[in-house]
């Protein structure tokens, strides 16, 4: 059992629980940041160094900055955060999610083909070279389609978030 994985998963799970229970979205975002870094360490212990680096860059670098930027832009006051569900509503949901976790862990633990050590087959497993060769040969078409998706998402975000021009003209 990898001690690095034990520590990283404990940190990730603790910060995930804290994230979903915090009332203020800024605290949630900071806990999510810690959780993302711990997940990156988990990738390292699964011998995926390239993915660990990309995970840090994309999640903590881009997505969290976007979240914190939007939280800052909305500038929510404590009374604007809105009410949360009462405990009578949240407890059944928690039980439901725990039952889902129970079913998944039963399926995972009862499969003998998964009870093998997480060992990389060779020394260059998950390196930039190996993943890049796959990405630009076997998976070249999905890779190109992803770039299309990102362009569409960029235009969509621009159109959705921009101020309506007619409103600006009406107020000025």
């Amino acid at each position: 059992m990898d001690p690095i994985f034990l520590i990283a998963s404990a940190v990730a799970l603790a910060s995930a629980v804290n994230m979903v229970t915090q009332r203020n979205p800024v605290y949630s975002a900071v806990f999510l940041l810690v959780g993302f870094l711990a997940v990156a360490v988990t990738f390292l212990s699964l011998s995926a160094p390239f993915l660990a680096a990309i995970h840090v860059v994309v999640y903590t670098g881009a997505i969290m900055v976007l979240f914190l930027f939007v939280i800052m832009l909305l500038n929510l006051k404590p009374e604007e955060l809105g009410a949360e569900y009462p405990i009578e509503t949240r407890a059944p949901i928690a039980v439901l999610c725990a039952a889902m976790f129970g079913m998944m862990s039963w399926a995972i633990l009862s499969d003998p083909s998964l009870a093998i050590p997480a060992k990389a087959p060779n020394a260059t497993w998950g390196s930039v070279e190996e993943v890049g060769l796959l990405l630009f040969n076997v998976y070249a078409l999905p890779f190109e389609l992803i770039s299309l998706l990102i362009i569409v998402a960029m235009f969509g975000a621009l159109v959705l978030a921009k101020k309506r021009l007619s409103n600006v003209e009406a107020t000025s």
């Binding site: 995930a16 979205p25 993915l51 999640y59 939007v70 976790f101 998964l114 796959l134």
Partner: protein, 102 residues
Amino acid sequence: MISYYLLFAAALFSIGAYGVLARRNVLIILMSLELMLNGVNIVFVALSLVPHGVQMAPGGHVFVLMVMAVAAAEVAVGLAIVIALFRTRQTVDINDLQMMSG
């Protein structure tokens, strides 16, 4: 053991699902969604280590990259919708955002 990594991923996914279902702040719902996608990513990477034949290639890693790209696009569009909604309705509570429920 690969199954421990899968258990960890299942726990992350379940906590994220709880966040999506039990919270009403739309920002925290989007963050919980990211957590669920992270759990899926760990499953992809862990299962790519399961031996299945003579030639093993990290194809699961490529799909993690795709999931990351989709997650980034989803967050960009989702947060843009949040900004547009907050501009028109001054709320981030999903129970106040029911104008499409007929």
